[in-house]
Amino acid sequence: MPPKPNPAQSALPPVQPWPKVVLLSWLVPGGGHFLLKRSGRGALLMGSVVLMFIFGLLMRGTMFHPQTGDLLTTVIYCGGFIGDLSNGLLYLVTTLFGYSQPDVAGHVHDYGTKFLVGAGLLNILAIVDAYEIALRKKD
Protein backbone atom coordinates (compact mmCIF):
# COMPACT_ATOMS: atom_id res chain seq x y z
CA MET A 1 0.00 0.00 0.00
CA PRO A 2 1.49 3.41 -0.94
CA PRO A 3 2.18 5.75 2.01
CA LYS A 4 -0.37 8.49 2.63
CA PRO A 5 0.91 12.00 1.79
CA ASN A 6 1.56 14.13 4.84
CA PRO A 7 -0.91 17.09 4.71
CA ALA A 8 1.72 19.43 6.18
CA GLN A 9 4.15 18.51 3.41
CA SER A 10 1.60 18.75 0.62
CA ALA A 11 0.84 22.34 1.74
CA LEU A 12 4.44 23.34 1.03
CA PRO A 13 5.14 25.10 -2.27
CA PRO A 14 6.87 23.27 -5.08
CA VAL A 15 10.63 23.40 -4.78
CA GLN A 16 12.11 26.31 -6.72
CA PRO A 17 15.80 26.70 -7.48
CA TRP A 18 17.03 29.35 -5.06
CA PRO A 19 19.08 31.39 -7.61
CA LYS A 20 15.87 32.01 -9.58
CA VAL A 21 14.03 33.04 -6.43
CA VAL A 22 16.86 35.33 -5.26
CA LEU A 23 17.20 36.95 -8.70
CA LEU A 24 13.46 37.58 -8.98
CA SER A 25 13.31 38.89 -5.40
CA TRP A 26 16.08 41.35 -6.18
CA LEU A 27 14.61 42.53 -9.48
CA VAL A 28 11.00 42.76 -8.27
CA PRO A 29 10.56 43.36 -4.53
CA GLY A 30 8.32 40.58 -3.20
CA GLY A 31 8.57 38.69 -6.52
CA GLY A 32 10.30 35.69 -4.95
CA HIS A 33 7.45 35.34 -2.46
CA PHE A 34 4.92 35.40 -5.29
CA LEU A 35 6.93 32.68 -7.06
CA LEU A 36 6.87 30.61 -3.88
CA LYS A 37 3.09 31.08 -3.54
CA ARG A 38 3.38 33.43 -0.59
CA SER A 39 1.26 36.10 -2.24
CA GLY A 40 0.05 37.91 0.88
CA ARG A 41 3.53 38.39 2.27
CA GLY A 42 4.85 39.19 -1.20
CA ALA A 43 2.24 41.92 -1.62
CA LEU A 44 3.11 43.47 1.76
CA LEU A 45 6.84 43.43 0.96
CA MET A 46 6.29 44.76 -2.53
CA GLY A 47 3.99 47.52 -1.27
CA SER A 48 6.40 48.61 1.46
CA VAL A 49 9.54 48.63 -0.69
CA VAL A 50 7.94 50.20 -3.78
CA LEU A 51 6.11 52.90 -1.79
CA MET A 52 9.23 53.72 0.18
CA PHE A 53 11.24 54.02 -3.05
CA ILE A 54 8.58 56.24 -4.67
CA PHE A 55 8.44 58.49 -1.60
CA GLY A 56 12.25 58.73 -1.80
CA LEU A 57 11.98 59.85 -5.43
CA LEU A 58 9.21 62.34 -4.66
CA MET A 59 11.39 63.81 -1.92
CA ARG A 60 14.17 64.09 -4.50
CA GLY A 61 16.65 61.87 -2.70
CA THR A 62 20.15 61.41 -4.07
CA MET A 63 21.36 58.12 -5.55
CA PHE A 64 24.80 57.12 -4.28
CA HIS A 65 27.69 56.43 -6.64
CA PRO A 66 30.57 54.24 -5.44
CA GLN A 67 33.38 56.42 -4.23
CA THR A 68 36.54 55.56 -2.34
CA GLY A 69 38.82 57.65 -0.18
CA ASP A 70 39.04 57.48 3.58
CA LEU A 71 37.23 54.69 5.40
CA LEU A 72 34.10 56.71 6.21
CA THR A 73 33.69 57.91 2.62
CA THR A 74 34.12 54.38 1.29
CA VAL A 75 31.61 52.92 3.76
CA ILE A 76 29.00 55.63 3.16
CA TYR A 77 29.22 55.84 -0.63
CA CYS A 78 29.82 52.15 -1.45
CA GLY A 79 27.28 51.07 1.20
CA GLY A 80 24.77 53.60 -0.10
CA PHE A 81 25.31 52.40 -3.65
CA ILE A 82 24.71 48.78 -2.60
CA GLY A 83 21.55 49.91 -0.79
CA ASP A 84 20.30 51.76 -3.88
CA LEU A 85 21.22 48.87 -6.18
CA SER A 86 19.28 46.44 -3.97
CA ASN A 87 16.05 48.03 -5.19
CA GLY A 88 16.47 46.00 -8.38
CA LEU A 89 14.41 47.09 -11.36
CA LEU A 90 13.22 50.20 -9.51
CA TYR A 91 16.80 51.46 -9.35
CA LEU A 92 17.75 50.28 -12.85
CA VAL A 93 14.69 51.85 -14.52
CA THR A 94 15.02 55.08 -12.54
CA THR A 95 18.67 55.57 -13.50
CA LEU A 96 17.93 54.47 -17.07
CA PHE A 97 15.36 57.26 -17.35
CA GLY A 98 18.01 59.71 -16.25
CA TYR A 99 17.10 60.44 -12.64
CA SER A 100 20.02 62.41 -11.30
CA GLN A 101 19.55 64.50 -8.21
CA PRO A 102 22.56 66.43 -6.95
CA ASP A 103 23.26 66.28 -3.23
CA VAL A 104 21.79 69.51 -1.87
CA ALA A 105 21.05 70.78 1.60
CA GLY A 106 17.60 70.34 3.10
CA HIS A 107 15.95 67.83 5.36
CA VAL A 108 13.45 66.64 2.72
CA HIS A 109 16.24 65.73 0.25
CA ASP A 110 18.09 64.03 3.07
CA TYR A 111 15.06 61.95 4.06
CA GLY A 112 14.57 61.09 0.38
CA THR A 113 18.11 59.73 0.17
CA LYS A 114 17.52 57.65 3.30
CA PHE A 115 14.21 56.36 1.93
CA LEU A 116 15.89 55.22 -1.31
CA VAL A 117 18.65 53.36 0.55
CA GLY A 118 16.23 52.10 3.21
CA ALA A 119 13.94 50.60 0.56
CA GLY A 120 16.92 48.68 -0.83
CA LEU A 121 17.95 47.44 2.60
CA LEU A 122 14.39 46.26 3.32
CA ASN A 123 14.47 44.47 -0.03
CA ILE A 124 17.64 42.65 1.09
CA LEU A 125 15.65 41.35 4.08
CA ALA A 126 12.91 40.22 1.68
CA ILE A 127 15.51 38.48 -0.53
CA VAL A 128 16.97 36.59 2.45
CA ASP A 129 13.44 35.60 3.55
CA ALA A 130 12.59 34.28 0.07
CA TYR A 131 15.92 32.41 -0.03
CA GLU A 132 15.15 30.69 3.28
CA ILE A 133 11.64 29.77 2.11
CA ALA A 134 13.07 28.33 -1.13
CA LEU A 135 15.47 26.18 0.92
CA ARG A 136 12.56 25.16 3.18
CA LYS A 137 14.40 26.56 6.19
CA LYS A 138 11.19 28.39 7.05
CA ASP A 139 7.58 28.31 5.97
Partner: protein
Protein backbone atom coordinates in the same frame (compact mmCIF):
# COMPACT_ATOMS: atom_id res chain seq x y z
CA UNK B 1 15.08 70.50 -8.52
CA UNK B 2 12.70 71.10 -5.62
CA UNK B 3 11.07 68.09 -3.99
CA UNK B 4 7.51 67.48 -5.16
CA UNK B 5 6.68 66.14 -1.74
CA UNK B 6 7.54 68.05 1.38
CA UNK B 7 7.18 66.27 4.69
CA UNK B 8 8.10 67.36 8.17
CA UNK B 9 10.69 65.42 10.18
CA UNK B 10 7.89 63.75 12.11
CA UNK B 11 5.87 62.72 9.04
CA UNK B 12 8.91 61.35 7.20
CA UNK B 13 10.08 59.41 10.27
CA UNK B 14 6.63 57.94 10.87
CA UNK B 15 6.44 56.80 7.24
CA UNK B 16 9.90 55.24 7.49
CA UNK B 17 8.88 53.49 10.72
CA UNK B 18 5.69 52.19 9.13
CA UNK B 19 7.40 50.61 6.11
CA UNK B 20 10.28 49.20 8.15
CA UNK B 21 7.85 47.71 10.70
CA UNK B 22 5.79 46.00 8.00
CA UNK B 23 8.86 44.36 6.46
CA UNK B 24 10.36 43.40 9.82
CA UNK B 25 7.07 41.86 10.87
CA UNK B 26 6.68 39.90 7.63
CA UNK B 27 10.20 38.45 7.47
CA UNK B 28 10.80 37.70 11.14
CA UNK B 29 7.99 35.62 12.56
CA UNK B 30 6.31 32.35 11.65
CA UNK B 31 2.56 32.83 12.00
CA UNK B 32 0.42 35.71 10.78
CA UNK B 33 -0.63 36.62 14.31
CA UNK B 34 2.99 36.74 15.48
CA UNK B 35 3.89 38.85 12.43
CA UNK B 36 1.13 41.35 13.13
CA UNK B 37 2.03 41.57 16.79
CA UNK B 38 5.75 41.99 16.06
CA UNK B 39 5.09 44.61 13.35
CA UNK B 40 2.89 46.65 15.69
CA UNK B 41 5.46 46.33 18.48
CA UNK B 42 8.29 47.47 16.16
CA UNK B 43 6.23 50.45 15.07
CA UNK B 44 5.51 51.36 18.70
CA UNK B 45 9.25 51.15 19.53
CA UNK B 46 10.05 53.37 16.55
CA UNK B 47 7.50 55.97 17.69
CA UNK B 48 8.70 55.89 21.30
CA UNK B 49 12.33 56.32 20.15
CA UNK B 50 11.28 59.11 17.79
CA UNK B 51 9.41 61.07 20.45
CA UNK B 52 12.15 60.41 23.03
CA UNK B 53 14.93 61.59 20.73
CA UNK B 54 12.83 64.59 19.72
CA UNK B 55 12.47 65.67 23.34
CA UNK B 56 16.18 65.00 23.96
CA UNK B 57 17.15 67.26 21.05
CA UNK B 58 14.68 69.92 22.18
CA UNK B 59 16.20 69.91 25.68
CA UNK B 60 19.71 69.94 24.17
CA UNK B 61 18.92 73.07 22.18
CA UNK B 62 17.48 75.09 25.10
Amino acid sequence: MRPSMSLSHFEASILFALFASVVLGVVTKKTDQERLRYGVRCFAYFVVALVGLGWLMWLGHR
